[in-house]
Amino acid sequence: MSKSIVRALKCRECGQEYEIAPVHVCEFCFGPLEVVYDYEKLEGAFDRKLIESRPQTMWRYRELLPIDGEPTVGAQNGFTPLVRAVNLEQALGVSELYVKNDSVCHPTLSFKDRVVSVALSKAVEFGYQTVACASTGNLAGSVAANAAAAGLSSYVFIPHDLEQGKVLGAAVYGTDIIGIKGNYDDVNRLCSEIAGKYDWAFVNVNVRPFYAEGSKSYGFEMMEQLGWRAPRYVVVPMASGSLCTKIHKSIKEFVQLGLVEDVQTRVYGAQATGCSPIAASVKQGTDLIRPVKPDTIAKSLAIGNPADGYYANRVLRETEGWAEDVSDDEIVAAMRLLAETEGIFTETAGGVTLGVAKKLIEQGRIPRNESIAVCITGNGLKTQEAIQGKVAEPRIIGPSLDEFDALAEADQARLAA
């Protein structure tokens, strides 16, 4: 096993470097800290063959993830399918479309298992026994599950009005689950205060720089599974905006290390119209993010004051991508479209991403004849409320062949008509 190439934490604003520690904000200018690496140490020691020889988990790219030793939490996480979506291609009128399907990520069915695996492995390295998070749902479930498996205690903080599937999907792991009367931004603000007072590893507060790096594995896998190439266009859901910056970073790293060719990938961001502060800034041609009060069924994306909004905005503009937003009805329609064409049941956030991809294709912003990757990051079974009453109910009949024959006959007659 090769040595860690992590160099330091570096302020994204003023460039000040800090030793590796559970800190996330620059003491001097309050900018966010990011993990930086000495890539030249990998020269000749990290190639496609080595990666391919390793188990199919997110940790096959471990040199580019910021832990020192072996992963102690979530060693099996990641490596989800990349699906060539032929039926969806036909439905959208495009020639090459892929779905990177983290709705089946081990163990809690969202891409959060990637970031949590890194955050908790790092928390163990730092010596923490209790881990915590502020969450819109998926993160709570992932922290709870991965902490349980690692023998860590956990506290998860969520808005009090989340979907039942998200609440149960965290509580079942025996975590301390706390509902806050307020929206995610209120939960997040409270968690910053709690993190300052209690000696816990808050995955998206004091260990956020490490946590966020876990998202790169989503991009790494996508490129390896595409046959070691980057997609020309990639559509990413945005809440805080972090995922979009990390997918971009993953592509830059693979290009720098010579693992893929630089195809000038354009990154597109997707939000729900009821919570679209980043998309609004891109459309208005500014880098100022004006916070909003979220009102959307896409609760996992309902962050009105996005921490990485500025950096997401910059990635979208620098790569000559764009951002769009879709209504609640468009979200549900896109969830159904993905289910009916590809057999993939994604949560509302996936509806946002596919809905926006469709819109961008129709607008001509994404051309129809080049490779497009759509980032599906969560599972529809957790947000059933969103489609309740909008899909077919079972037709109830008695356990009798006669009754079924009558039903089948009626169906055939309707088809013939």
């Binding site: 200018c29 900018g31 502020a134 603000r189 956020r208 809440a239 905006g241 100022l288 962050i303 921490a307």
Partner: protein, 93 residues
């Protein structure tokens, strides 16, 4: 024109521990200058080399972010409440 400025914990070292200070100023820019005169070193914490308010420093005048007013040119009136609040990185995805 005297305004009250709330100082966040990480900057109180520069204000001898005070969590609130009063300054004379007719605009946010002037407020920063006068704060720095009284408490040397505050300006470089609040503003970058170009003199612009740092991206992760939020300044609110009566609860409105000055970025959405007139930035450093935002006028101040007697009795205005100004808060300096570091944006704390949070959130997910």
């Amino acid at each position: 024109m005297s305004v009250t400025v709330r100082i966040p914990t990480p900057l109180r070292k520069l204000t001898d521990g005070a969590d609130e200070v009063s300054v004379e100023a007719a605009s946010v820019g002037e407020m920063i200058d006068n704060l720095d005169n009284a408490h040397s070193g505050l300006r470089e914490r609040l503003c970058d080399e170009a003199g612009e308010i740092r991206r992760f420093v939020n300044i609110y005048v009566n609860d409105e972010d000055v970025r959405f007013l007139q930035g450093k040119d935002t006028p101040l009136a007697d009795g205005d409440q100004v808060s300096i609040v570091p944006a704390i990185a949070g959130g997910v995805r």
